[in-house]
Amino acid sequence: MKKLFNEFLKGIIKENPTFVLVLGLCPTLAVSVSVINGIGMGIAATFVLLGSNIIISMIKNIIPDRIRIPCFIVVIATFVTIVEMTMKAYSPVLNRALGIYVPLIVVNCIVLGRAEAYAQKAPVINALFDGLGMGIGFTLALILISGIREFLGAGKLMGHTLIKGFEPAYVLGMPSGALLVIGLLLGFFNLLKERKQ
């Protein structure tokens, strides 16, 4: 049980997909304009990760090694389609805000990376906890980045104005601001890691 819990926990801190593995940066850069978008993207990616990790771990013995990547993609695409259709039906506003980046989860390197590096070698239950941990780690990273960007770039948090008279720095709402924030956070976490050792 403790081992499974560690599988879950490593995705959040020790192997955080955004800040340690530095995977899945394209959706991170694109959707981290507001916290709502970040949470939506995070949940969608977590669901896909969870599903694809479980299924791939289940069918790992019948996938021929040479064509494993296309097989993974088919599985992932199935889950992405489910997410996209659900989102269109129940939250069209979020779907419009995330736009092309929902279907693009298919080629999200976190999902494919976990399938390739972990799920195809691990038992189902481990793959499940790995997918969940990675997904939550990705979501938390998105919330952190989008929180900073939304607060400093638009003066709001979750759509509410926090400080009256605060003049937001527009640049943080733009793509260049995303690169800046992610770069600074990456540096900060590396600094913490270095201090710890």
């Binding site: 003049e167 937001p168 720095a169 527009y170 640049v171 733009m174 800046l180």
Partner: protein, 321 residues
């Protein structure tokens, strides 16, 4: 600096100069410009300059203490960064704008790369571009120069006037300002860019003392002039090149920011390429770009190209093919 390699070519002559001394000399050369700015725009300009400089020094000191590095606020480089940043701001900006800009210049423009000598981009311009992208409203609201005789009391709180380049961009002619007024700085603009006379005084001082070489400024200004003359508004070879040279931040940028020894090429040939590149980009932005002024973006882009230029213009080592 981890290794104390001397990045130059033989013969290595010793001279009684240090980085710090050169920095303070550049500060001295910038004093007339500041005085002119305060005379032209009034006491507000002085506050912007003081705030910019003090916050640059404080940011550098505090960040170096936090990072447990040697505090080097007295070597003059942070002073220049704050000063140049303030010179790049309009005279009537909110008080926090120079503070935020100076902090960004020092933290992101300089210390993150490892401090003086390791930065890729000119720190003051990094700060200016950040402010420009973040608060364009304040960065492009220029107040007009004080009329003669009004002294330090401004009759209105908020009078705005467009810079000649912005007027030119909108397609109107800027005939109401004579070249002499442009030369003396009687126009709207940033604090340190308007008075060409004061800028040239400082530049000549630096050139005579040998702290900057002619390669970058002359090629930069010449290229911009030629480009704006050839691609004029009324057809080829009809552009008002003198207006383009006297307006905007061209003189300030060419003499004081493009020549920053950290972020410009080492050799003369490299510096000529650098200057021509700056001039081309400036002219392209002014003539066809979305902004009325492009000097700061041009210098930053060429800063990014500097390592490449240095690589291809390396001097031949004596005795080697």
């Amino acid at each position: 600096m981890k290794n104390r390699l001397i990045v130059s070519f033989p013969p290595h002559l010793h001279k009684d100069e240090s980085v710090s001394k050169i920095m303070w000399m550049v500060v001295i050369s910038l004093i007339p410009t500041g005085l002119a700015g305060v005379l032209i725009f009034g006491i507000d300009a002085l506050w912007v300059i003081i705030l910019g400089v003090i916050s640059a020094l404080l940011s550098e000191g505090i960040l170096q203490l936090l990072g447990k590095r040697r505090v080097s606020i007295l070597d003059g480089s942070a002073f220049i960064t704050g000063l140049l940043l303030a010179y790049n701001l309009p005279p009537k900006v909110p008080f926090w704008l120079p503070i935020v800009g100076s902090f960004f210049s020092i933290a992101i423009g300089k210390l993150i790369f490892g401090g003086l000598g390791q930065n890729i981009f000119n720190p003051a311009l990094v700060g200016r571009v950040f402010l420009m992208a973040s608060w364009p409203k304040y960065m492009t609201t220029f107040s007009p120069p004080l009329s003669a005789g009004a002294g330090f009391i401004h009759p209105f709180d908020a009078v705005t006037s467009a810079t000649p380049l912005a007027i030119l961009k909108e397609g109107k002619s800027a005939e109401y300002i004579s070249y002499l007024d442009l030369f003396l700085g009687k126009r709207g603009g940033c604090i340190g860019e308007v008075c060409i006379l004061a800028l040239l005084l400082g530049a000549i001082f630096l050139l005579i003392k040998g702290y900057i070489s002619w390669h970058i400024p002359i090629t930069f200004i010449f290229t911009t002039g030629v480009m704006t003359y050839v691609f004029g508004q009324k057809g080829l070879f009809s552009g008002d090149w003198l207006l383009h040279i006297l307006c905007g931040g061209l003189i300030l940028g060419a003499f004081f920011m493009a020549t920053d020894c950290v972020t410009s090429p080492l050799t003369g040939r490299g510096q000529i390429i650098f200057g021509i590149g700056c001039g081309l980009i400036t002219a392209v932005i002014r003539l066809w770009g979305g902004y009325p002024e492009g000097v700061s973006y041009a210098i930053l882009m060429m800063n990014a190209a500097t390592p490449l230029i240095d690589r291809y213009t390396r001097n031949r080592v004596y005795g080697v093919k």
